[in-house]
């Protein structure tokens, strides 16, 4: 069951999608909401897709059942995806559907909104119409409106009126058009987008300082956190540029709080000098890198997984780092927390990869378990630390006991971007240099042991293995379902921890002789190349998409089918 809401930027597709998503989630359904929008503020063509099912769908599908066409262009662009039995909600005051079209449900969105109290509520009218077509009443959404407009005098009532007007109008035309199966009794569940989820993970990981510069699709994380800084022990600062952002965060981290920054590829490019500084000074830092299609400005509001190589090798010189990725909300919440703990434990920079698709996709998910989150700072005990304190004491693990500046009278805590001795003072001699290079690189061994093997999904003795990472998880999972439904033994091997790459599972699974497919949102098969260089295993086929649009499960399954 797919709902597509389309219109020009600024027409409020977001609002409708959000209200419907939360309402349907409360009703017990599972909703997946994806967004397709342009890099502009008004005009153009944007759309939001909601897929609704008894369990939360993993990815979007092509066929539309309810098309909410907020302008005429939307009808023309999307009628091709509309099911025979589909319905088109549109405002006849704005445009009529052309002659042979019989699927229209004309609802005077604006006129009804005005009656209810203002044109601005057209979107609420549309929501009512959709609910009617789904055969749902307005009770749940009314509650929601009451909550959302609690602060704004009279608005809940007006919106409720608009909602009911839309519902009545559409019901009169169509009654119950679509039979949603009865909802599951799932209890309370969240309907949350990727960026809010990451923001929540940040806050719940005890981060106290975020400095960042706005950049799509990472800005949502900053927005989430900024909105909560008045009520939490948190400072969110918009830096003058990305260089300041990462260097501020490093200062905050050095001084002792959990700190981070977030950006997209172009901003990350400006941060790699600071990344290298984190490596040299051994300052914990998490960078959320929300990818979008490059090079340069590229496609600011689209998705890609084109910066994996850059995340692995960005920054001059050699130093250990970890790279983790957001796969789906139910995992990313805990994994981002892991990123913070790894950064603190190993005193290294940790890159957390997201992308526009993950950032902007919302899902219905079970409640998050905050007790699974860890807050291990791995700081040295001031009373039990060898004195005089040496910031870069040589140890077997490569990790030096970490004291904070200002914590212990008489002790100096000195971090240095030059090569340095144990005290943090500049050196130039060959012997100390060797020791320090080896000390830093020694951390890699410990780090490697912390990496989680990729998740396996699907057939236990597969003929075909799809391999992916990050936000393609949902599409890949459903692709496996489609292949298996069609009688093909397929499995998914999906990476969330990417560096140091855990290789045991992929070695074992591919040893079974299955055909392997690396499925990636880029043009040069970066994961496939990473796999090869860490294991010598070459994927039999690469399925690549680099047009800025997320994979559909059907697409992947079709590609796999070409080769099996």
């Amino acid at each position: 069951m797919n709902i597509l809401i389309g219109g020009a930027a600024g027409q409020g597709m977001d609002t409708i999608g959000h209200l419907l998503g939360r309402t349907l989630s409360r009703e017990g359904y599972g909703v997946l909401l994806t967004k397709d929008y342009m890099s502009r503020v008004r005009g153009g063509h944007n759309f939001t897709r909601l897929r609704v099912d008894t369990e939360t769908p993993w990815s979007a599908t092509f066929t539309t059942h309810i098309l909410v066409a907020l302008n005429e262009e939307t009808y023309h662009l999307h009628r091709g995806t509309l099911a025979e039995s589909g319905r088109i909600i549109h405002d006849p005051g704005f445009f009529a559907l052309p002659a042979p079209e019989t699927r229209g449900v004309p609802v005077s969105l604006q006129a009804l909104a005005k009656e209810a109290g203002g044109a601005i509520m057209s979107n609420t009218v549309a929501c009512g119409a959709v609910l009617a077509l789904l055969g749902l009443d307005t009770t749940t959404m009314q509650e929601l409106l009451k909550e959302e407009f609690a602060a704004k005098e009279g608005m809940a009532e007006k919106n409720t009126a608009a909602l009911q007007a839309g519902h009545a109008a559409a019901a009169a035309l169509c009654g119950r058009c679509f039979l949603l199966p009865p909802a599951n009794k799932n209890g309370r569940r969240l309907f949350i987008d990727g960026n809010s989820l990451l923001g929540m993970a940040v806050l719940a990981s005890g981060v106290r300082f975020l400095s960042a510069y706005p950049m799509t699709p990472a800005t949502g994380i900053m927005n989430y956190l900024a909105a909560r800084q008045a009520s939490h022990h948190l400072v969110v600062e918009q830096a003058e540029d990305e260089i300041a952002a990462i260097n501020m965060a490093l200062g905050a981290s050095f001084a002792g709080v959990r700190a981070m920054t977030s950006t997209s590829g172009g901003g990350f490019a400006l941060m790699v000098e600071g990344l290298s500084l984190a490596g040299m000074t051994e300052t914990p830092l998490v960078i959320v890198l929300a990818m979008r299609p490059g090079p340069a400005t590229g496609l600011p509001t689209r998705t890609e997984q084109g910066d994996l190589d850059f995340a692995l090798y960005g920054g001059h010189g050699e130093f250990p780092r970890a790279v983790l990725a957001a796969t789906h909300p139910g995992d990313a919440f805990y994994r981002l927390n892991k990123a913070f703990n790894l950064a603190d434990k190993y005193q290294i920079p940790v890159l957390f990869l997201s992308d526009q698709h993950f950032a902007d996709t919302a899902r219905t998910i079970p409640p998050l378990d905050f007790s699974r989150l860890a807050y291990h700072r791995h700081l040295a005990d001031p009373d039990n630390t060898e004195k005089p304190y040496r910031r870069y004491r040589l140890t077997a693990s490569g990790i030096s006991p970490r004291l904070l500046p200002g914590a212990v009278p008489g002790e100096v805590v000195l971090a240095d971007s030059d090569e340095h001795d144990e005290d943090g003072h500049i050196i130039e001699d060959a012997a100390t240099r060797r020791l320090m290079v080896e000390k830093r690189l020694r951390k890699s061994a410990g780090l490697a042991a912390e990496m989680e093997e990729p998740e396996i999904y699907g057939d236990s003795a597969p003929e075909s293995v799809l391999v992916g990472f990050g936000s393609t998880y949902g599409a890949l999972r459903e692709a496996v379902d489609i292949l298996r439904r069609d009688g093909h033994k397929a499995a998914l091997l999906h990476f969330a921890d990417l560096w140091p790459l855990p290789v045991a599972t992929v070695r074992r699974v591919l040893a079974g002789g299955a055909k392997s497919f690396c499925v990636e949102q880029n043009a040069t098969a970066q994961l496939a190349r990473l796999l090869f260089r860490q294991t010598g295993l070459k994927a039999d086929h690469n399925i690549l998409k680099y047009d800025g649009r997320p994979f559909l499960a059907e697409e992947i399954a079709a590609e796999v089918n070409k080769h099996v």
Binding site: R22, R26, R188, R189, F191, I192, S196, M200, L203, A204, G206, R208, F209, S211, Q229, H233, L234, V235, A239, E240, I243, A244, A245, N247, M248, A249, L250, G251, A252, F254, A255, G256, V257, E273, G274, L277, T281, N337, P367, F370, S371, L373, Y375, L404, P405, G406, A407, V408, P409, E411, V412, V413, L414, A415, D416, S417, D418, G424, H425, I426
Partner: protein
């Protein structure tokens, strides 16, 4: 003695370098202010000036060239109990780090910023810096510097800096007093310090400066226009002293999170935030 305990025996500076006077003055200033020494954090970039944290027994963050200020802002926010001092070169601050100079002034964090202004890139062997005198010939400016010198005081004033001063490494007593005032000032405080580079700057030497520096007299440091007029003077007479001093709200004062116990000291338990998800149900 407090001061002597702070100074390290070795430095990599050239004998006779103006940086020595700055180091001495800073050691004296923090000692005379009676600051808890372990709470001082010295942030710097890269350059000769920026080596300072290695030559004073204080905690430090010796970061990247041009990036002395941002870590200082972050560190101060993380731990408001720290006394954060930034030492950086003219190239560091006004060249590579120019954007941070602009916006840190606007931000107004409670840090003191001492710019070792030797009007040259010392560590990289004598290229022009933004403050180099026109006509100065270097290995890169082979036809002489053509750009007009960057006026740090005037620019700082035009950005609304609350504390703007100039001193001279050859006037150690004066310099120390400027430093004390800057450290004590609530907010961003800039002291641009004339610092002879005996190896690469053959124009702006100790004697060149000594002949010209003149202590500011009869000046109201809350008078912006007068300060701007003073800041535009550079030539046979170079004013030193406090050009402008008028506090405005600090960066830290705007954040509710920074009004109480330093962030770094607060405990945290993730489970206590489980209610964060409520708004998404």
């Amino acid at each position: 003695m407090c001061k002597n305990a702070l100074l390290t025996a070795e430095t990599a500076w050239c004998p006779g370098c103006g940086n020595f006077g700055i180091r001495e003055a800073l050691a004296e200033a923090v000692c005379e202010l009676g600051l808890p020494l372990h709470r001082i954090l010295l942030c710097s970039g890269i350059g000769q000036a920026a080596k300072l944290p290695h030559y004073l027994r204080l905690s430090g963050f010796n970061g990247l060239h041009g990036r002395a200020l941002p870590p200082a802002v972050g560190a101060k926010a993380a731990n408001t109990a720290l006394v954060v001092i930034v030492a950086s070169g003219d190239g560091d601050t006004y060249g590579e780090g120019g954007n941070h100079f602009l916006h840190t002034i606007r931000r107004n964090p409670d840090i003191a910023h001492f710019v070792h202004n030797n009007q040259v890139y010392g560590l990289t062997k004598g290229q022009a810096s933004p403050t180099s005198e026109p006509g100065m010939v270097t290995g890169v400016q082979t036809m002489g510097v053509t750009l007009p010198p960057f006026n740090p005081l005037l620019v700082a004033l035009s950005l609304g800096a609350g504390f703007v001063a100039r001193s001279f490494s050859g006037e150690q007593e004066h310099l120390k007093e400027m430093m004390k005032a800057a450290i004590s000032f609530p907010g961003y405080a800039l002291v641009d310090i004339l610092q002879p580079c005996v190896s690469f700057n053959k124009i702006n030497t100790f004697s060149w400066y000594r002949k010209r520096v003149k202590k500011i007299q009869n000046h109201d440091p809350t008078d912006w226009r007068a300060a701007a007029d003073l800041a535009r003077r550079w030539g046979e007479e170079i004013p030193i002293g406090i050009f402008y001093s008028a506090p405005r709200p600090t960066f830290e004062s705007h954040f509710p999170a920074l009004r109480g116990t330093p962030l770094v000291e607060l405990p945290f338990d993730p489970s206590s935030l489980s209610h964060l998800q409520d708004e998404f149900f």
